[in-house]
C-alpha cells in the first residue's frame, strides 16, 4: 500500500508555495489581474518556476531538474488549486514534462525544468488518457516535413513557448512563435486557465519521438495529468470548504450565525467527509504516478471519477452557502466554481473515466 501521508519535506514545500502565493497572488487579486488583460501571472510563474525551481521538481537532475518526485509536484498543485493561480504548471510542468520524459527529449526538458520555457501538449484539454480511442491526428506532416492542422481547445497554449504536437508521423516540438503558428484565444469557462485553438500552416518542427514511443509519450502525459489533476481539485475543494466555513461563522441571519443551522452544517460536514476521501485518492494517484506503478491507470481513472464531482460539489456548495455574495462577480467563489467545472472536463470527464475503469477492473457493460 502506498504512503498516503505528507512527508516533512512535502509539508515544508507546501508552506513555501502557500507563502509565495499569499505574497504574489492572493485570491482577491487574481480576477483583477485577468481583467487587466493579463491572463497569465508571469511574475508569479517566475517566482514559482524559476526562483523556487518548482517547474523541474520532478525532473531528474541529469535533465536539469531537482530530482524530486511527482508526490511533491502534487503538493504544489494542491496549493495552486487552493489559490486558483493563473500559471501553466499542470499543463507544462506536469503534462508536457511527463510526455518529454517519456521520449527522453533532453534539450527540451532542460529548458522546461529551468522554467525558462513553457510547453503544452497540443491536444484538446478534454482529451483523457484512454489509449487507442483517438481518431486521426488533427495535425498532418507533409512530404517536406512541415506540419499543418488545427487543434481545438488547448489549455495554456497562449502561455506556451513550445508546442508538443502529436501527428501520425510522431511527436513534434514546435516553437510557439514560429511562422505559421496561430493561437486563437477562446473565451474560457475557467478564467484562470485560458484555452486557445492552435492552427499550424506548414510549420517546421523537430520530431522528438516516433512510432509507438510517440503515442506512449502522449499517453504518459495525459495519464500523469489525470492523476495529478486530482491534487489540484483537492486544493480547489479545500479553499471552498475553508472559506465557506469561515463565512457561515460570521454571517448572521435570524439573530444567529447561519453556520449554526443544521441545514447548513450538515452540508458542510458532507463536504468535509468527501474531502477526507479526495485527499486519500489524490495521494494514492500521485504516489502511483511518482513510482510509475502498474496500477497507475486505475489510480488515475479512480482519481478523476471521484475527485472531479467532489471538487464541483464543494464549489457549488461554496456558492450556495455564501448566499447572495456568492453569486456576485466581486466574490472569488465563481473562480473556483469555474475552475472546478473545467477541471471536471479536463483529461476526461468522470463518466468517461468510469467507462474506462469498467475495462480496467473487469466490469464489462
Amino acid at each position: 500500500m502506498k504512503d498516503l501521508l505528507y512527508s516533512d519535506v512535502e509539508t515544508q514545500l507546501r508552506d513555501g508555495v502557500r507563502d509565495a502565493l499569499a505574497r504574489r497572488s492572493p485570491v482577491a487579486t487574481v480576477l483583477a489581474g485577468i481583467e487587466s488583460g493579463q491572463p497569465y501571472d508571469r511574475d508569479l510563474w517566475r517566482t514559482l518556476a524559476v526562483e523556487m525551481g518548482l517547474a523541474g521538481i520532478a525532473v531528474p537532475e541529469k535533465f536539469g531538474g531537482a530530482g524530486g518526485s511527482l508526490r511533491e509536484a502534487a503538493v504544489v498543485l494542491e496549493e495552486l488549486g487552493r489559490g486558483v493561480a493563473p500559471v501553466p504548471y499542470l499543463t507544462s510542468a506536469i503534462v508536457a514534462t511527463s510526455a518529454l520524459l517519456a521520449c527522453g527529449a533532453g534539450d527540451e526538458l532542460a529548458a522546461l525544468a529551468s522554467g525558462q520555457a513553457i510547453a503544452v501538449l497540443a491536444v484538446p484539454f478534454a482529451k483523457g488518457p484512454f489509449p487507442g480511442t483517438a481518431g486521426a491526428p488533427a495535425v498532418a506532416v507533409d512530404a517536406d516535413g512541415y506540419l499543418s492542422g488545427t487543434v481545438a481547445g488547448v489549455a495554456d497554449a497562449l502561455a506556451a513557448t513550445l508546442l508538443l504536437v502529436p501527428t501520425a508521423d510522431g511527436l513534434y516540438a514546435v516553437d510557439a512563435s514560429a511562422p505559421g503558428v496561430t493561437r486563437a484565444a477562446v473565451v474560457p469557462l475557467d478564467l484562470t486557465r485560458p484555452i486557445a485553438d492552435v492552427s499550424l500552416a506548414a510549420v517546421a518542427g523537430r520530431r522528438v519521438a516516433e512510432g509507438p514511443q510517440a503515442a506512449a509519450a502522449v499517453d504518459a502525459g495525459l495519464l500523469t495529468g489525470a492523476a495529478l489533476l486530482a491534487s489540484e481539485q483537492l486544493g480547489v475543494a479545500q479553499w471552498c470548504l475553508d472559506t465557506t466555513v469561515e463565512y457561515v461563522k460570521q454571517r448572521h441571519q435570524f439573530g444567529r450565525p447561519v453556520g449554526s443551522f443544521q441545514a447548513v452544517k450538515h452540508r458542510l460536514a458532507d463536504v468535509w467527509v468527501e474531502l477526507t476521501q479526495v485527499r486519500a485518492v489524490a495521494r494514492h494517484a500521485a504516489a502511483c504516478a511518482a513510482e510509475g506503478d502498474a496500477d497507475l491507470a486505475v489510480a488515475a481513472s479512480l482519481a478523476q471519477a471521484f475527485c472531479s464531482p467532489a471538487a464541483v460539489h464543494a464549489a457549488e456548495e461554496c456558492v450556495q452557502l455564501h448566499g447572495g455574495i456568492g453569486f456576485t462577480w466581486e466574490h472569488p467563489a465563481h473562480l473556483f466554481l469555474k475552475r472546478a467545472k473545467a477541471d471536471a472536463i479536463a483529461y476526461g470527464t468522470a463518466d468517461r473515466h468510469r467507462v474506462h475503469l469498467a475495462a480496467l477492473v473487469d466490469l464489462p457493460g
Binding site: M1, D3, L4, L5, V245, V248, K249, R256, P257, G259, S260, F261, Q262, V264, K265, H266, L268, A269, D270, W272, V273, T276, Q277, V278, R279, A280, V281, R283, H284, L302, A305, F306, R354, V355, L357, A358, V361, D362, L363, P364, G365
Partner: protein
C-alpha cells in the same frame, strides 16, 4: 488476587520475556481454559495498559497487540470477546476511572476472563440521540436505590450478569445534572429482558424493563448527580471501528455487486452498469481513506477522519445493498427467513442480499445517527456554532416530552 510478578517498570523487551515465561509455565494446551485466563490476568498480561493488579502492567496500550499476537500464536484460549465486548470496551474503562477499589477488585477480573458478561443500560424509548433526556428513576431508600424504568436497544442483555446503568435521581434540576450511574445485577428479580425484534425479523437486541430493582449504594459509580460525566467516559471508549488490516480492493460489501455483475451478463443494463461503477469508485475511495486513517494512527497523528468513516460506510452499505437487491431481479423477491432468531453476531457478507439491505438500514442509526455525526463533525471538526438549545437550563421534569 495474586500480586503481579512484573517489576515496577517493564520495557517492551521485558514484556516479550514475560510473555514467553508465562506461556512456558502455563501450557495452553494442557490447562483448564478458565484457569489459564485467570492466570494470564494475574500476570498482568490481560491488558498491559491497565494498572498492576487489575490485569495490566501500567504500560502503553500500543504494546498490547504484540502480547495478543504471541498468545494467539501459542494457541491460547481467548476470553470470548464477542460476549465480553461491552464489559471490555465500556464497563472496564469506566470502573477503572470512576470505581472504588472494592468495585475494581470485584468486577474487573471476571469481566476480563469472560466469566461475567456485561451489557449497557443507556438508551430509552424517549432518550435516543438525546441520551441525557433519560427517564429511568432511581430513588434512594436507606443504603439502597430502587430503580424503575425501561431501557432499549440493549445488546447481550439476555446473556448478561451485570449492566452499567444510568438513571435519573433528581428530576428537579436540569437534565445533565440529575443523573447517577450504577452497576446493576441483571439477575435481580425486577429485571425483565425481552427480545426486541428488528425489521430483519431477528432480535439482536433487547428491551429491558426495570421494576423496583434494588441496587446497593456500594454499586454506585461516581457521585450522586454526576452520572452524565461518568457516562461520557463510557461513551469515549466506544471503539472507533477501524479494521486491523488494510482491506484489499473490492474487499467488503462492494464484492457482492461486482461478483453478481460478473456472473450474470443477462442482468446487465446501462443503468445497472453506471450504478455498479459509481459504487466501485465510492467504495475504493472509502477504502483508501480508511487506509490513510490507519497510516495516520500508525504515525501517531490521529485525526478526526474516523468520524467520517462511519458516515461513509453506513451510506455505502445502504446504497450497495439496495443496488444488489434490484440487480438480483426475481431472486431479490425472496428472503432468507423471517423467524425470530437471536443471532450470535452480524456479518453482512455471509448473509443474503435482502438481509443486507434491511440490516444496513440500522447502520445510519446505531452508534450515533448520521445526523448526529454530521453535527459532531460540523461543531468539533469545522468549529461551527451549536444550535441554540432550549433544554439546558430547564429542570428535567419541566421539559416538553
Amino acid at each position: 488476587m495474586t500480586e503481579s510478578p512484573a517489576p515496577a517498570r517493564t520495557s517492551a523487551q521485558d514484556l516479550d520475556r514475560l510473555v514467553a515465561q508465562f506461556l512456558a509455565a502455563h501450557p495452553p494446551a494442557s490447562m483448564d481454559r478458565l484457569e489459564f485466563l485467570r492466570a494470564r490476568f494475574d500476570a498482568g498480561l490481560a491488558w498491559v495498559h491497565f494498572p498492576v493488579g487489575l490485569g495490566g502492567l501500567g504500560l502503553s496500550r500500543s504494546l498490547q497487540a504484540g502480547v495478543d499476537a504471541a498468545f494467539a500464536a501459542a494457541g491460547a484460549p481467548d476470553n470470548n470477546p464477542r460476549r465480553a465486548v461491552i464489559g471490555l470496551g465500556m464497563a472496564a474503562p469506566t470502573i477503572l476511572r470512576h470505581g472504588t477499589d472494592e468495585q475494581k477488585r470485584r468486577f474487573i477480573r471476571p469481566l476480563w476472563t469472560g466469566e461475567q458478561v456485561w451489557c449497557q443500560l443507556f438508551s430509552e424509548p424517549g432518550a435516543g440521540s438525546d441520551l441525557a433526556n433519560l427517564a429511568t428513576r432511581a430513588v434512594r431508600q436507606g443504603d439502597e436505590w430502587v430503580v424503575t424504568g425501561q431501557k432499549v436497544w440493549t445488546s447481550l442483555a439476555h446473556e448478561a450478569d451485570w449492566a452499567i446503568l444510568i438513571t435519573r435521581t433528581d428530576p428537579d434540576v436540569p437534565k445533565h445534572q440529575g443523573m447517577t450511574y450504577f452497576i446493576c445485577d441483571m439477575h435481580d428479580p425486577g429485571v425483565d429482558v425481552r427480545p426486541l425484534r428488528q425489521l430483519t425479523g431477528e432480535a439482536e437486541f433487547n428491551e429491558v424493563f426495570l421494576t423496583d430493582v434494588r441496587i446497593p449504594d456500594s454499586l454506585r459509580l461516581g457521585e450522586v448527580g454526576d452520572g452524565w460525566r461518568v457516562a461520557q467516559s463510557t461513551l469515549m471508549n466506544e471503539r472507533v471501528s477501524i479494521g486491523a488490516g488494510a482491506l484489499p480492493r473490492e474487499g467488503g460489501i462492494i464484492s457482492t455487486i461486482t461478483a453478481l455483475w460478473r456472473a450474470h451478463p443477462e442482468a446487465r443494463t446501462p443503468g445497472g452498469h453506471d450504478a455498479v461503477l459509481r459504487s466501485w469508485v465510492a467504495a475504493e475511495a472509502a477504502r483508501l481513506a480508511n487506509e490513510r486513517l490507519r497510516q495516520q494512527l500508525a504515525a501517531g497523528q490521529p485525526g478526526p477522519e474516523g468520524s467520517a468513516q462511519k458516515l461513509t460506510y453506513a451510506r455505502l452499505n445502504q446504497e450497495i445493498s439496495g443496488i444488489e437487491v434490484e440487480l438480483s431481479g426475481q431472486t431479490g423477491l425472496s428472503y432468507e427467513d423471517w423467524a425470530l432468531r437471536r443471532p450470535a453476531g452480524v456479518d453482512l457478507l455471509s448473509r443474503s442480499a435482502g438481509f443486507r439491505y434491511l440490516r444496513a438500514k440500522g447502520n445510519s442509526i446505531e452508534g450515533g445517527t448520521s445526523e448526529i455525526l454530521r453535527n459532531i463533525i460540523a461543531e468539533r471538526v469545522l468549529g461551527l456554532p451549536a444550535e441554540p438549545r432550549v433544554d439546558v437550563h430547564v429542570p428535567w421534569k419541566d421539559l416538553p416530552r
